[in-house]
Amino acid sequence: MRLKRLEIIGFKSFPDKCIIDFPLGISAIVGPNGCGKSNIIDAIKWVMGEQSIKQLRGKSMGDVIFSGTEKRLQLNMAEVSLTLSNDTPETVEADLSQLTEIMITRRLFRSGESAYLINKQPCRLKDIHNVFLGSGMGAKSCAIVQQGNIGAITDAAPEERRTFIEEAA
């Protein structure tokens, strides 16, 4: 399953809708300090079902909703949609394996309410997690190396390092 399209609106520093179509191969996201590059990674982790706000550099889940700037008011909802091409149908659940594309959406309201959708149909967070099980691609897999974490591998205790191998197995 590879990434096709990411749509971000109201998430962290993205109050205006932002659409990214990822090609095959290697894409580089570039820009000055603080412009929002790591926030894009956070958006992908979040829509894939990341539940630890610490992993998203926040303290409470509301931290991911656009909190306003000197010129703009805060928003009350964050929404991220990720469209994946289902090119390895053997790795997904039976009822999804028929589809050529799978679109997952996650919404969070400032009131605390959450919504999760697969192909625009409401579902539970658990269903979003299941989309990625068995393909080694969940929000905690080795396929994501966050800013500053590469040093953690050499600094880690040997017992921590074994988890990298366990997760790949």
Partner: protein, 161 residues
């Protein structure tokens, strides 16, 4: 399960032994179990032998050597069990020019099996990528995607000053 872990460990170890000299232009490295008799509790140690030097304590290695060793480890796991996509946030930051080049060449090989999305401030890494996505904050605090021309890149970042 014990058998699964040992099999994975051995595969990653073989890959790590092959990967390290390609990133370091020489030298050798391997993985060791801290408690080989208890595979379900053992830790994993990185034994690093940079080219021309001796096997040394991990802590004595330089910032760049540690980062490159960690990249060799991560890349080994990526190759054994390729993820559909890899998100890499500034992992090339501590590398000098020569190491950055070798890093990007290995990344191209990983990119044959996995889709790679990387964040980098490094111009060399940008040149190796297939597509660039520029992010700016024209209006303070509001992120916006802009198209980036690779040829204009060096001129552009001068304009940003």
């Amino acid at each position: 399960t014990q058998k699964l872990f040992m099999e994975m460990f051995n595969n990653v170890n073989e890959q790590f032994k092959a990967m390290f000299p390609r990133l370091f232009a020489g030298g050798s490295a391997w993985l060791e179990l801290t408690q080989p008799n208890t595979p379900l509790e053992t830790g994993v140690e990185l034994m690093i032998h940079p080219p021309g030097k001796k096997v040394t304590r991990l802590s004595l290695l330089s910032g760049g050597e540690k980062a490159l060793s960690a990249i060799a480890f991560i890349f080994s796991i990526f190759l054994i069990n390729p993820a559909s996509y890899c998100l890499l946030d500034e992992i090339d930051a501590p590398l000098d020019e020569a190491n950055t080049n070798r890093f990007n060449e290995l990344l191209k090989i990983i990119g044959e099996k996995s889709q790679i999305i990387m964040i980098s401030h490094n111009k060399r890494s940008m040149e190796f990528s297939d597509m660039l996505f520029g992010v700016t904050m024209g209006e303070s605090g509001v992120s916006k995607l802009v198209s980036v021309d690779i040829e204009k890149l060096s001129g552009r970042s001068n304009a940003q000053n």
